[in-house]
């Protein structure tokens, strides 16, 4: 079907949630107020690593206005982990604390002052233990063990070995090995984390919190609280951004539930900005050593990559986090021979999760090294990328078939739009130019959680209600669902109500992470709408005396193809269906075709995701060689999103990706540390981009119409963010003739590299490589 034939799909229409957000009506978790609600506060470890000898809560319990105090004793040491084999985080610490900020106790009181006073009255006796704060110290043979069962503090070890890498290097015309380092970055979503829990006398509990998957949260809470799943209701609430940082299960939601159950009153916990930084998730620090062999034309023959990820105190999404940088890379670049050793290493620092530009040192390393190889061979950056870029119809090294791929088009269009080659040849500090390219999954195997279902019911006025488990973190998922249903049902979006992300009502869904919402949830709503439409057509065909197959639904009417004026209203059909006792109730589901036997550690092969997005970004920058300041001049970003369901929303994703991945992620965002304490957990100290920092952004939407995506759509939120980081990095590099290998590129690092500029095609700094580690006992993976 052509774009012109669609009524709503493919058009830039305002989001359905925008109105309530511009008027201030939209209610976020911290805005909730329930009768008799208490304020909850959490006591955190002041030490990076210590044994808990004793906790005395008697004074806090005796304080007037305190209604509940909980410690690890109330939890039986219950642990959380994304996988059965990574359950290593106690929801309240019992025996030991592992980072500054670990949850030790919590209180619920009538107001904030009383709650804070109660925290001060809790006496915790610790015995400090030696701590480790970086990967290299953590894997040293004599390093203190953070978890008894992680030998050398290795939390996850992923090994992938495809083809014959050693022979490929022997046959290569050029082999390079370089090491790339990136520091920790953070989400800084504008809404600080908050939880409200409301326990009922029937043993049920309702919970509100910013989340990326209400159904996952409900299941984890049901397990941890030992309540049946049917008693845990995670409710819909407006969410102020996620970027990967709301995907996991956090102790706070469990603790808030405990406080509510114990006090038999609603409890609200609102994180301070500092707590949001240290006690939700942050990005991994990472060291990546990349060895690449190419033939004389620059075609990659083999790669051998070792990554060390600083995972902080607990597993979180460890096996996924360790693998994804490699997987994005193997989707982007063709290679017959490739080896990857990824290690996630525990340190006494806050827990690390997946972030929108997860794996900066990996992705930027690959692209920087590619530019170095091109320079050595006398090839330009565009040509070497085109030679190695993934194409549709190919299979990745670990066995994912790529059904649609517009990477070549992204590279060509962004290069052409920027006149890349001419500018690259004349690069100077006044104008450097660089390109990055990347690819992202649309979901991956999640077992029964991988699918999405939807229902559609009709009202007597012809309007419909869509019921879906998909959650909206701010990216526009609610609008996506409504827009798809509107298209299928022939109703304006205003006629469609949406109930989503409420586990009592909505069917399960994979969750709004790994970029699957449009592909999975969108397809489920599309199929539910098609089902409802078929039921409408059955009834309408009797009224219109026509074959259901000849009918069209559009503009609130059903009519025979080619005769829109002779149609009948959907409202009439709905009422007729009610009279006939055949009410219209659409249902639909979608499960991506992925290899469910694939497992991150034990079996990293098979179809990872049913579709992949691809993107290329070009950044142009000016570097002040006196101050080390970089000014981004213009950024052109091209992404194959399959099909742009709502172009203005897609552009917004691209532009946000440039800000987070390129402007912030490559030019300044990093955490600084002192003995496990984050020195810049606040918005004053951690510098996210402001409007004055931003360059002009030119989005280029590339559409390849994926055969399985809804209307051909894939994802729009991540490829640009990642390729923007790579593009900024290479642009600064080309401006100065320096190959940067320590990210982000702060003025201090840029000045240091300028002062110590080396000759030859070498990286700015020499780092000790990340090496393979012989280890027996990292978690083995399930299955």
């Amino acid at each position: 079907m052509d774009r012109e034939e669609y009524s709503f799909i493919g058009r830039s229409i305002p989001r359905v949630d925008a109105r309530s957000k511009v008027t201030g009506e939209a209610s976020y978790t911290a805005d909730l107020k329930l009768p008799r609600m208490l304020v909850g506060k959490i006591l955190r470890s002041p030490y990076p690593h210590a044994k808990i000898i004793n906790i005395d809560t008697s004074k806090a319990c005796a304080l007037r206005g305190v209604h509940a105090v909980v410690t690890g004793k109330d939890t039986a040491g219950e642990k959380w982990g994304v996988f059965r084999y990574t359950r290593d985080q106690q929801l309240l610490c019992v025996d030991k604390v592992r980072y500054v900020g670990d949850e030790v106790a919590a209180v619920a009181a009538v107001d904030e002052d009383t709650a804070l006073e109660a925290l001060r009255l809790i006496q915790v006796e610790y015995e400090e233990l030696p701590a480790v704060f970086d990967c290299r110290s953590a894997i040293a043979p004599d390093a203190p063990l953070i978890h008894d069962d992680y030998q050398r503090n290795i939390n996850v070890a992923v090994k992938i070995d495809v083809g014959d890498v050693d022979s490929a290097f022997k046959n290569s015309a050029l082999v390079r090995e370089d090491t790339f380092v990136a520091e920790e970055d953070s989400y800084f979503m504008t809404e600080p984390y908050a939880v409200v829990a409301n326990s009922g006398s029937d043993g049920s509990i309702e919970v509100w919190m910013p989340n990326a998957s209400p159904h996952t949260k409900a299941k984890a809470l049901s397990n941890a609280l030992k309540l049946p799943l049917s008693k845990v209701n995670v409710r819909k609430i407006t969410i102020g951004g996620a970027f990967g940082g709301r995907s996991d299960v956090f102790p706070a939601e469990f603790i808030t539930c405990l406080l509510s159950i114990k006090s038999q009153r609603p409890v609200k916990v609102i994180y301070t900005r500092e707590e949001n930084s240290i006690a939700t998730r942050m990005g991994h620090a990472m060291i990546t050593t990349i060895k690449t062999g190419v033939d004389k034309d620059g075609v990659v023959l083999g790669r051998d990559i070792v990554s060390w990820l600083d995972g902080g105190a607990y597993s979180s999404t460890g096996p996924i986090a360790t693998s994804v940088p490699f997987l994005c890379h193997e989707q982007t670049y063709r290679m017959d021979n490739v080896r990857f050793h990824g290690y996630r290493i525990c340190t006494n620092k806050p827990v690390r999760g997946m972030i929108r530009i997860h794996g900066r040192s990996f992705a930027c390393g690959i692209d920087t090294q590619l530019d170095m190889i091109a320079q050595e061979l006398g090839i330009d950056p565009v040509t070497i990328r085109l030679k190695n870029a993934r194409r549709a119809g190919e299979t990745t090294p670990t066995g994912s078939y790529v059904s649609s791929c517009g990477l070549i088009e992204c590279v060509e269009k962004s290069a052409e739009a920027t006149n890349f080659l001419a500018k690259f040849k004349n690069a100077s500090p006044e104008r450097g130019i660089g390109m990055g390219m990347n690819s992202v999954q649309t979901g991956f195997p999640l077992g029964i959680r991988g699918g999405s279902q939807a229902f559609i019911k009709f009202h007597e006025d012809g309007g419909a209600t869509v019921i879906s488990g998909v959650v909206d973190n701010g990216q526009g998922n609610d609008n996506m669902l409504v827009q798809i249903a509107a298209e299928e049902l022939g109703l304006p979006p205003d006629d469609i109500r949406l109930i989503s992300a409420d586990t009592e009502v909505t069917p399960t869904d994979a969750g709004s992470y790994s970029m699957i919402s449009t592909f999975g949830g969108g397809n489920a709503v599309k199929s539910a709408a098609a089902d409802a439409k078929a039921q409408l057509f059955e009834v309408a065909s009797e009224l219109l005396e026509a074959d259901p197959e000849d009918l069209i639904a559009k503009n609130r009417k059903i009519f025979v193809r080619g005769a829109p004026d002779a149609g009948i209203s959907i409202a009439r059909v709905v009422r007729k269906a009610l009279i006939l006792g055949r009410p219209i109730m659409g249902k639909g589901s979608f499960s991506p075709q992925v290899d469910q036997r694939r497992e991150w550690i034990s079996n990293p092969k098979g179809q990872l995701s049913q579709a992949f997005s691809f993107g290329a970004t070009v950044a142009e920058v000016e570097v002040d060689t006196e101050t080390g300041q970089v000014k981004a001049l213009e950024v052109t970003c091209a992404q194959d999103c399959g099909f742009a369901l709502n172009p203005i929303v897609v552009e917004g994703q691209f532009e946000g990706g440039v800000a987070m991945g390129g402007q912030g992620g490559m030019l300044g965002e990093e955490h600084r540390w002192h003995n496990g304490h984050v020195l810049n957990p606040s918005m004053l100290e951690y510098k996210i981009p402001i409007i004055k920092d931003m360059p002009e952004i030119k989005p280029i939407i590339v559409e390849t119409i994926d055969p399985a995506g809804p209307y051909g759509a894939k994802e729009a939120g991540m490829s640009v963010a990642m390729s923007a980081a790579q593009a900024y990095c290479n642009a600064v590099g080309s401006a100065l003739g320096i190959y940067f290998n320590h990210y982000p590129l702060t003025p201090e690092r840029i000045l240091d590299a300028i002062e110590n500029k080396k000759t030859g095609i070498v990286t700015a700094w020499e780092f000790e490589p990340a090496t393979k580690i012989e280890v027996e006992t990292s978690p083995k993976g399930s299955k």
């Binding site: 809404e191 990216q475 946000g656 402007q663 918005m683």
Partner: protein, 161 residues
């Protein structure tokens, strides 16, 4: 703690409320008066989510003591739309795709209003200066700039001047 009576005008309504001397304007507006459109993002004056207008000027309500508002006129995001009609700035934010998660939106719109009320035809740089204290993590600011530019006179309704 002893409370003091504060009288101020909020969104064209005269209000008297007893507040503690240490209470911030943010706390009083959100917790006492129910204006939840006033958002708390950082509590230290960095992010601008709590921006309200005090006698037409944008202020950080998290850093403003409630008692400082004595006798003044406060505008929160709830005071912009009237009779079900969005204010033109609100409408522009909706139409131009300037809203994603929406947490920064109230503060952003109020900062834009303070600018446009005093300077109906600002340059791009003047718009960026006026919005420099409002953090947005979703949009990359491009559509926000678009939205504010669209409110300039017709001849200059696109970014680039």
């Amino acid at each position: 703690m002893k409370k003091q009576l504060l009288s101020m005008n909020v969104n064209d309504e005269t209000i008297e409320v007893a507040v503690e001397a240490s209470a911030s304007l943010l706390e009083v507006l959100r917790d006492e008066l129910g204006y939840i459109g006033v958002k708390e993002g950082c509590s230290e004056g960095a992010c601008g989510a709590c921006t309200v207008l005090m006698d037409g000027r944008p202020v950080r309500s998290c850093l403003t003591l409630a008692l400082e508002a004595e006798g003044s006129s406060i505008t929160t995001i709830e005071g912009l739309a009237s009779g079900g009609q969005l204010h033109p700035i609100q409408q522009a934010f909706v139409d131009r795709g300037a809203v994603q998660c929406g947490f920064c939106t109230p503060g952003m719109i109020l900062s834009a209003k303070a600018l446009l009320d005093h300077n109906p035809n600002p340059s791009d740089e003047e718009i960026k200066d006026a919005l420099a204290g409002n953090f947005c993590r979703c949009t990359g600011y491009a559509k926000i700039l678009d939205a504010v530019c669209s409110l300039r006179p017709a001849s200059s309704s696109k970014p680039g001047r």
